[in-house]
Symmetry: C2
Subunit: 163 residues, 2 copies
Amino acid sequence: MKRFAKYFCVSLVLVLLGCDSTSPQPASTKAADEAAVRQTDDNWSKAAQSKKVDDWMAFYADDAIVLPPNEKKVDNKEGIRKEIGTLLAAPGLSIHWAPINVEVARSGDLAYTQGSYELTSNDAHGKPTTDHGKTVEIWKKQSDGNWKCIVDMWSSDLPAPTV
Amino acid sequence: MKRFAKYFCVSLVLVLLGCDSTSPQPASTKAADEAAVRQTDDNWSKAAQSKKVDDWMAFYADDAIVLPPNEKKVDNKEGIRKEIGTLLAAPGLSIHWAPINVEVARSGDLAYTQGSYELTSNDAHGKPTTDHGKTVEIWKKQSDGNWKCIVDMWSSDLPAPTV
């Protein structure tokens, strides 16, 4: 009986040590998640070089919303395809972006990136003009472990045109 | 001995049931967090009615960044105070905003709100003009349990002025 009680206590301690549900996730998970989000955002900017709408759209979740400056919120896939299609069809287009800050929730399900973009396209006279600005993207980890963008917003650093 | 073995097994099962570290947080935590973020954003819009910079600033974390349209990123408290001070000093100002979507990470440390704003102020001729648009705010739970905004971005729904 005494020996059994000893086994019981040792087992209980081992079980309790093994399942501390209040301990935070290991730091490596957060770092790995942040690296994955950063890499995905970089891949997205590279994918945009094909200037194909599908290559761009692959980075949005099904319920993504896009918030372009001086336009209403676009909250449906068809509207987003149209928005991105117009952007990618701009004559002389060159577009790049990159994340600056990347932060992932401890639970590894939600993240954001705050970055910058540069966009060159030809004006009405065929002269290249360059815009640059800032981005906020919100990311959600999908059931397959990949990160997809659920909110995409950007705005120019340049002053608005004056009438 | 047999009775002790039975107690051991029952205890072990209860302990294992009580500490399943892989199970998600209870739904009520997520709902409560989302309600808290929504309430904080509503309180912020109400606080802005005083038109005092300090009342507005109280909702930003110390390391908050502000991303106004057609301006560079503002990533320091002094710059943000100046930005908000200029906004709140606009003649005839009326400003309101509200969250539409609110989403909190399972771990309850990171959240975002996507909402809309309406802003009326007098133009150069003293005539009230109204702008409306969309917002993205990213929120972080502070060590005291309160939510503070760490990224604040907005842009107009109205077309940019044409030269």
